[in-house]
């Protein structure tokens, strides 16, 4: 018989692992539950942060840039009455010119969406704002406010540099006389996004470290409780692999079990929370991942954590 690891040994190691799992059912279950809770905490964090990141990303769409259209040039006979108020301002020729300008604006890199606000539209908006005191606007010329384009930026441009580059390009367009944007908002938003990234990373790393520590500590204690058994196996001439494999398999099995349990905990928690949290905010605990990815990921994480935890914990018992 060679000193290596025969196929029978492997067979034994595997059946042993299952036997151990049965024998140490309580302990295995407890470490599985520890894995489950640790993974569940981690996942809750992940879910909340992914969701916050997602809304944060949609906030980017609020970054309006307003480009004002130059007065009098080719916008048709201004100051003359007769155009039906409420329709886009200007005769067909002017409309075509506006269309062309809109196309140019839309073609600017970083621009995602463009809405044209005519002079009449601008005035109507003001009138709405003065609700109850529309008197102020009596006799005011309908073209006293300029026409404009409201521009929504591509999310990737919602940062100080990106916005500035778009604004520069818009300013260079013939027919645009002024560009306004919320510089402060952009500044804040982009630093918030940076914060979210770092916060997620820091908290995530911290939780991962804590989880790994807790799991490997749990397994270390399990192994410690069975140090006598390990010693006996070594005395019987078992190779390192023969001793390690059952613990490894056991660790991985309770890790996978933990992953599956964490899924259960998460769904129970989601259900319980769903009954109390207003519908309006439920999105924050909504699972943003495909189910197979979530469950697969959790079980794989449990497997790796359990396996790695076993190997690390076994190290010190296998010397000499």
């Amino acid at each position: 018989m060679p000193s290596g690891f025969s196929s029978f040994s492997l067979y034994y190691a595997l059946t042993d692992a299952l036997g151990n799992l049965r024998d140490n059912l309580v302990t295995s279950l407890l470490s599985a539950l520890t894995v489950a809770f640790s993974l569940a905490i981690f996942t809750v964090f992940l879910v909340v942060f992914v969701n916050l990141n997602n809304i944060a990303a949609t906030w980017g769409e609020r970054t309006h840039v307003v480009a004002y259209v130059k007065e009098g040039i080719k916008t048709g006979p201004s100051g003359t009455a007769g155009w039906p108020s409420g329709t886009a301002g200007g005769p067909p020729g002017a409309a075509n010119w506006t269309e062309a300008l809109k196309k140019t604006v839309e073609a600017t890199p970083g621009v995602k969406d463009v809405t044209f606000i005519s002079k009449e539209g601008a005035l109507a908006a003001l009138r709405a704002e003065l609700k109850g005191h529309e008197g102020v606007l009596e006799g005011v010329a309908p073209d006293i406010l300029p026409a404009s384009f409201e521009i929504i930026l591509d999310p990737s441009y919602v940062n100080p540099d990106g916005v500035r580059s778009v604004v520069e390009r818009l300013r260079a367009i013939d027919g645009i006389f002024a560009v306004e944007y919320g510089a402060e908002w952009v500044e804040r938003f982009s630093s918030f996004m940076r914060f979210m990234e770092i916060f997620t990373f820091v908290i995530g790393a911290f939780l991962a470290a804590a989880t790994l520590f807790i799991i490997s500590n749990t397994i270390r204690l399990t192994v410690y409780a069975r140090r006598h058994e390990i010693e006996v196996m070594r005395y019987l001439g078992a190779s390192g692999a023969f001793i390690k494999v059952p613990f490894l398999v056991e660790g991985m099995a309770s890790g996978v079990m933990g992953g599956a349990l964490s899924l259960g905990i998460l769904f129970l928690g989601r259900y319980a929370a769903g009954r109390h949290i207003p519908q309006y905010f439920i999105f924050i605990i909504e699972n943003p991942f495909p189910l197979w990815k979530l469950s697969g990921g959790l079980m794989m994480a449990g497997l790796l954590l359990g396996g790695a935890g076993s190997l690390v914990s076994l190290g010190r018992f296998l010397k000499v």
């Binding site: 018989m1 000193s3 025969s6 196929s7 029978f8 040994s9 067979y11 034994y12 042993d16 036997g19 024998d23 140490n24 069975r226 006598h228 058994e229 010693e231 006996v232 196996m233 070594r234 005395y235 019987l236 001439g237 078992a238 190779s239 390192g240 023969f242 000499v320």
Partner: protein, 219 residues
Amino acid sequence: MIQFFHVHKNYLDGVPALTDVTLTIEKGEFVFITGPSGAGKSTLLNIIFGSEEPTDGHILIEGRNYLKIPPRELPALRRRIGFIFQDFKLINTKTVFENVALSLKVMGVGPSEARKRVLKALSYVRLQHRANFKPLSLSGGEQQRVAVARALVKEPAILLADEPTGNLDPDMAIEMMELFKEVNSRGTTVIVATHDKGMIEKLSKRTVTLASGRLLIPH
């Protein structure tokens, strides 16, 4: 052949357990090691087994320098040695059958052959009826016999027995010694550490006596 040349063993605490032991045990010999409590009998067996290292001296086993054997070869070596430990060293979470089978599993013996051999070994020590018991529900003597069965089942090249009859009644003790003699007659080197003077006299085999770590009657 096991050869000790001026072997010394001091434990970390500074206790000298063996002092200048020079000793040759032939292949296939049957040797008793005796001496008062704390004389160094277990230490001697542990050194042969490789679970303790001597502080000084040289050891040759089958001509090889034992102290130069790399740690990764130790398991293979131990699979050729059967050790009946003074404190049995049974695994309390496994049944008697599993405990005995483990020493065959470790060697890669197939399940069906292992089963046959384990049951035979258990019948030798009169414990067939306890195969599915766990060690803690056995009497002291029964546990000791499980340890005997586990050491014999592997048909070792060397059998080390440390006080193997301390918990056995005289009749059972004699039966065990007969077992050892039979194993010995099939070529196994047998080394038994014991206090049992009656046993030593009855078997009239070579006897090595230790006193405070020194050989008293060198052979």
